[in-house]
């Protein structure tokens, strides 16, 4: 092992910024990060062992205790639950002979839940040793169990398990274009860098990652900041449950995205770019690397790109299971080899980002749009959309509809149009923008997708009338509590309290006062949290409480107070030890 780690460290130039990459390799080889490896790495990278320990404990895909040789994770997002995740994972556990969350005694396999893996249009999905598997059914599970028990190496498994479909159902302005291999770079230099920035400004392009900041301004501030180095980062962390459009863009239009990054780099004056690819998209890694190699060969990357005296290259960095790393400053921390904890702002990344240099972080789709704008000009793009939301938006549609997949629409499209196109009937409501977005009811389908009305990063989850609002809220509340980075009090403690409070209500232990307590807690988390995660973590409750107060009310007992914990269950140990089961050995949850 010592030899292996020395070599790893060497391959990574002994750079602490590469810590995630190094740990990924150790985890893949030993199924955990041994203590000795931490000690050795600390010395070789010249960082403290606690920094390494923190990174291991922070990211879901690193472990201090061995996982199985086959580490199987099953996505437990709401769309997975809708296709019977609970039953299927139990079936899996039973067939494998392992408890959920644990490693089988022979060390061959481990099984656990994981947050949305971005395969919501091909649920039930999961990961085996980091590689995506889709369309899990009982019969496919049986086959996997067989492979595992035979200890068949992953590369000998049927390719079918790992098939990930693009499911592009409706293309528009951007998806109709073919992948760009040099045309945008040429157009940019032909037109001039500042002139191209002006075109991007004219296009009205706003960030597609959710916040909707005007892209041209971000680039301008970054360019204007005095510095010897600047960085361009593509945010491909795509962790918002229900979003998978970046996965498809990277699979089918990677060249355009890289081209967009290159154009942006030329404009802001960066020579180094990164694409932060979420760990769940490991299956895309080799393909993307190959495209980068091709682009270097074609002089679209590297030194003196297309003879314009401009150097730029892109490195792919993989995440390791942490939704918070989609937040741009947490992402930067992660790229620096640390836990993904959002920074204090100001200063913003455009002033002080990666290694404290000016950095522009943009979404995958933003770069796709920018590359096309560089070719076709700003007006081409701005001709579509609404006053404040120009161009088109790519949506990831999943849930209760006939045709889940990728849909591109100009901004301003109504929810109803989308529902008609994707074949959704008997609809209860739609979760727009993922758990951190808004739940809208079937009274509101004339509302428009646009920054002026319903802003979204692209997640669109349809629920039909057979679904229960509280199940949805329950799932989302657990998601946020699991993904809170823990830095600030309101979110760290608040999301856990919220999870407990929702559990209490869903389990039928809520009483009149609990709704007031719930709302008060939500406001606290929303108003006092440090970053966007905490500030939106209460949205599932707040947006549904506003629309369906009666559903919450119906779950409450007609009493004014309910104990905060399960009284009778709390006597279980004592009953067992005292060997009693008489009436006095039990407690009713509320007084008869």
């Amino acid at each position: 092992m010592q030899q292996f780690i020395r070599q790893l460290a060497q391959e990574n130039d002994f750079q602490a910024t590469r810590l995630l990459k190094i740990l990924r390799a150790i985890q893949a080889r030993y199924f955990y990060i041994p203590k000795a490896a931490i000690e050795q790495l600390a010395l070789m990278l010249n960082i403290s062992r606690t920094q390494i320990q923190n990174v291991i404990e922070f990211y879901s895909f690193f472990h201090l205790e061995p996982r199985g040789q086959f580490d199987i994770l099953i996505s437990n997002s709401i769309t997975d639950l809708m296709v019977g995740q609970a039953e299927l994972i139990n079936y899996f556990a039973e067939k494998l002979g392992v408890k959920i969350g644990e490693v089988r005694a022979d060390g061959v396999v481990s099984l656990n839940n994981t947050s949305c893996t971005g395969m919501c249009d091909q649920s039930l999905a999961g990961l085996v040793n980091g590689y995506a598997i889709t369309h899990l059914t009982k019969s496919r599970i049986d086959e996997i169990v067989e492979n595992v028990n035979k200890q068949l190496p992953l590369d000998q498994w049927s390719r079918d398990f790992f098939k990930v479909e693009d499911n592009i159902i409706k293309s528009g302005l951007l998806l109709n274009e073919t992948p760009i291999k040099g045309a945008a770079i040429k157009a940019t230099f032909a037109r001039g860098l500042m002139e191209t920035l002006t075109e991007v400004e004219k296009s009205g392009l706003r960030g597609r990652g959710g916040a909707g900041y005007t892209t041209a301004w971000k680039w301008k501030y970054c360019r204007e900041e005095n510095a010897d180095q600047r960085y361009i980062i593509c945010n491909a962390d795509e962790g918002e449950p229900g979003t998978f459009k970046d996965r498809v863009i990277l699979n089918a239009y990677a060249d355009s995205v890289f081209e967009g990054m290159t154009v942006a780099a030329a404009i802001i004056g960066a020579t180094q770019g990164f694409i932060y690819l979420r760990g769940e998209y490991l299956h895309l890694y080799e393909k993307l690397e190959a495209i980068l190699v091709e682009r270097r060969a074609a002089n679209l990357l590297g030194k003196n790109i297309l003879q314009n005296g401009f150097d730029f290259d892109i490195e792919i960095c993989l995440g390791a299971g942490a939704y918070i790393c989609g937040e741009e400053s947490a992402l930067i921390e992660s790229l620096e080899g640390k836990a993904g904890i959002p920074r204090n702002r100001p200063p913003y990344p455009v002033i002080s980002g990666y290694l404290n240099k000016p950095t522009s972080v943009n979404n995958v789709e933003t770069f796709l749009a920018a590359a096309n704008i560089a070719i076709h000009g700003g007006e081409w793009f701005a001709a579509f959309g609404t006053a404040k939301s120009k161009g088109t938006k790519i949506h990831s549609i999943s849930g209760d509809c006939a045709k889940p997949g990728i849909y591109e629409y100009p901004f301003g499209v109504t929810v109803q149009t989308i529902l008609d196109d994707c074949g959704a009937t008997d609809v209860l409501g739609v979760q727009i923008g993922g758990p951190s977005g808004t739940f809208i009811s079937n009274d509101e389908f004339q509302r428009k997708i646009a920054f002026e009305d319903l802003a979204t990063g692209g997640s669109f989850i349809v629920f039909n009338n057979s679904r229960n609002i509280l199940d949805i809220v329950h799932n989302f509340s657990h998601f946020f509590a699991h993904e809170s980075c823990g830095f600030c009090t309101p979110c760290r403690v608040g999301t856990s309290l919220l999870k407990k409070q929702i559990d209490k209500i869903v389990e039928g232990h809520g009483s009149a006062g609990d709704i007031v307590a719930l709302e008060e807690l939500c406001q606290l988390i929303k108003n006092y949290s440090h970053c966007g995660l905490g500030q939106t973590a209460a949205n599932p409750v707040l947006t549904t409480l506003e629309r369906y107060p009666e559903i919450y009310q119906s779950m409450l007992k007609k009493i004014s107070y309910e104990p905060g914990f399960d009284l009778d269950k709390s006597l279980e140990t004592a009953r067992r030890l005292a060997n009693r089961d008489d009436a006095a050995a039990h407690l009713a949850q509320v007084e008869e």
Binding site: Q53, N54, E57, V493, L497, Y528, G564
Partner: protein, 239 residues
């Protein structure tokens, strides 16, 4: 030259580069805080110092003062919410003040007193947390750690060591010690280190000193944290 901000209707001068907290402290205005200590780079995690800047919530300890800021600090709404944030810290850990050596000298407790907190409001987590009494002179009671990172910063910035760190994600966060065994006795911490004395709660304690000052005669038994803080932090940073 004379730039100023307004805090609760009062004009407060500031210099470029100062945070709202620094400007307020220098002007004799107390903004509740736990993770902030003027001797170290601000952290911004406890959120007790939240003030409204032109209507928007900001952490005073990290947010730069700038011209045109109209700030509210002491309002019923802010103090009620600060109280709830404090209550969150109490239920997250295990704070049994009657059996804590720090009682009466504890900033967490003092902030609670200041905000008029009489109960913990939220359901308790009652998590199992450990005590590390391995070191001959210093002990850690993890039950009382609020993850303010003051010990982390003190060790790095004053002691020139790197004894403490916060590890883990979300509610599983914990304080860890930089030694191969993970125990304090195997770290290079000494009882004279700043990091051993900086903890605002009773999570890091110097052994055999806990009851030198009897309960009833401790800092916050008779003085409120606002006066105490302004006397300490205001003085050292006024020129």
């Amino acid at each position: 030259m004379n730039k100023s901000i307004v805090i609760d209707g009062k004009n407060v001068p500031f210099e470029d580069g100062q945070t709202i907290m620094q400007a307020a402290t220098a002007a004799g205005i107390y903004i509740p805080h736990l993770c902030h200590n003027p001797d170290f780079t601000p952290h911004g995690s406890c959120k007790l110092c939240t003030v409204k800047v032109n209507g928007r919530n900001c952490s005073a300890c990290t947010f730069p003062a700038s011209e045109g800021q109209n700030i509210t600090n002491v309002t019923q709404e802010l103090n009620d919410d600060r109280e709830k944030i404090t209550q969150m810290l109490f239920v997250e850990g295990n704070h049994f003040c009657p059996s804590c050596e720090k009682t009466g000298n504890c900033n967490l407790q003092a902030v609670a007193y200041h905000l008029g907190m009489t109960d913990n409001h939220f359901p308790h987590f009652f998590e199992n947390r450990e005590v590390d009494a391995s070191h001959p002179d210093v002990m850690i009671d993890h039950n009382r750690c609020i993850f303010c990172t003051l010990c982390v910063r003190a060790s790095q910035q004053v002691d020139g060591k790197d004894v403490f760190a916060i590890s883990g994600r979300g509610i599983d966060k914990r304080l860890v010690v930089n030694s191969e065994s993970g125990l304090l006795k195997d770290s290079d911490l000494e009882a004279t280190d700043c990091a051993a004395h900086i903890c605002p709660t009773g999570a890091i304690l110097i052994k055999r000193t806990g009851y030198k000052v009897p309960i009833g005669q401790r800092i916050y038994d008779h003085s409120q944290i606002d006066t105490v803080t302004l006397a300490n932090e205001g003085a050292s940073h006024d020129e």
